[in-house]
């Protein structure tokens, strides 16, 4: 079980391997990636920053919630900080469970809740040269 923040490219193979075991019938890996088009505007890059101590606490809580709610074998979450180019991986979540139904449900829960609570922010670098923090209402 692990949560982490990193400034390095995410090794998602290692993340998936870290939850795979003979007790599991399913491993679910989610990758969040930097997308080029958003509401008609073109992204060139994203910058991610975090409140590290609180982000780690919130990610740990999400992991515990998922483990309590579904019969999972392992959960691993990692988010990358810093300057990310198009297509790069910002977040990776791996879960394993005996049956795939729980892995899908837990995986969806983890990314959906992550986006609501973890104190990390992204700054759009638009193709017109402007930058803009994304702060959803």
């Amino acid at each position: 079980m692990a949560v982490a923040l990193t400034r390095e490219p995410i090794d998602f193979t290692q993340l998936a391997e870290s939850v795979r075991s003979s007790a599991a019938g399913a491993v679910l890996l989610f990758l969040g990636t930097v997308r080029e088009l958003t509401a008609g505007r073109r992204t060139v890059a994203l910058d991610y920053e975090a409140y590290p101590e609180m982000a780690m606490r919130e990610m740990t809580q999400l992991e515990e919630m998922a483990l309590n709610r579904w019969p999972l074998l392992a959960v691993s979450i990692i988010h990358r900080l810093g300057h990310l180019e198009l297509g790069e991986i910002s977040v990776a979540i791996a879960v394993s469970s005996p049956h795939r139904h729980d892995a899908f449900d837990a995986g969806r829960f983890l990314i959906d809740e992550f986006k609501k609570v973890v104190p990390i922010w992204k700054k759009e670098n638009w193709d017109d040269g402007t930058t803009e923090w994304v702060h959803p209402h």
Binding site: R57, S90, V117
Partner: protein, 94 residues
């Protein structure tokens, strides 16, 4: 010596961590707020003082989320001394 009424004003301080747009507006990632009395302030009181001292935060103010000791806090929650206090805009990670 003349009898003088000495007015003792108790004040205390809080260090406030700022992030993202809030940090950019103020230009610093942490600021020191002076709380003008001896009682433990609430998150709401600290929020008001923060915006008073940094008017560039005014339009962000109501939307800023607060955290005390790395936990989300509501306006009525206390802000004790010697724990981290942070105000930040809605999150967008993941």
């Amino acid at each position: 010596m003349a009898n003088e009424a000495v007015e003792e004003i108790s004040t205390q301080q809080r260090i406030i961590l700022l992030f993202a747009e809030a940090r950019d507006r103020v230009g610093r990632d942490r600021v020191v707020l002076t709380i003008p009395d001896a009682q433990i302030p609430t998150v709401g009181q600290v929020r008001r003082l923060l915006i008073e001292q940094f008017p560039s935060l005014r339009d962000l103010g109501p939307r800023l989320l607060a955290a005390v000791d790395s936990r989300y806090a509501m306006n009525e929650d206390p802000v004790p001394a010697n724990v981290d206090v942070a105000f930040f805009p809605p999150v967008s990670g993941g």
